[in-house]
Symmetry: C2
Subunit: 135 residues, 2 copies
Amino acid sequence: MNRSDCPISNALDHLGDKWSLLIIRDLALFGKRSYSALQGSAEGIATNILSSRLASLEASQLLTKAPDPADKRRQIYRLTEAGKDLLPILLEMILWSAKHNPGDLAIPDDLVQMAANDRAGLLARLRERIDSDSF
Amino acid sequence: MNRSDCPISNALDHLGDKWSLLIIRDLALFGKRSYSALQGSAEGIATNILSSRLASLEASQLLTKAPDPADKRRQIYRLTEAGKDLLPILLEMILWSAKHNPGDLAIPDDLVQMAANDRAGLLARLRERIDSDSF
């Protein structure tokens, strides 16, 4: 299954490419759960790429797909526990960009502050938000 | 310069793809500094991909290239401060793999333990190692 015995290479095999991690971001931080919501991302993901990345993230067991109880024709995408555990990687990317590419990036000040003061607390809050139905 | 105002998308633009992050790994964690050492990685990077990724990482100011003082025909690659600041992202990938893909992965037990007990101390030690000439 693993193409290398290196844990970093392994993580990258499951993440695939930039688009996969942006889909994880949309599910983890922006509360998106439907195909159409994911398609509306700022980066303008092509529909064939979105489909293929969702399928491979599902195969890697980072997300699940299930019919929406409210509308069975619609699929709802949710992060698995392994998918939610990617949050610290996303957080470190945000902090890296906050430090090295300030300026026009949309980085909430309080997030950077909280990460410095109480990283574990911040991650716990972000995770709770993913699990809440209102998100 | 930035194709999106999202800090995660920005980080991924600079990292490029899997190969870029494996090159960063080799410089940050395996002490590799020459083209030939980088080419000898377990994942078997093709020489044209290695060249193009080194050039784009240099353009993104994540690494520098300079002639080896001991042998001017040889180039030495070193991480910049921004490149070294990718260490926490690599660490989180290692920890994610340690949790979700245990088994055949080469994950030092003491690294996982240290990350849990003293994450800041571990990152400081890894960073010192990058800066030491013997690494």
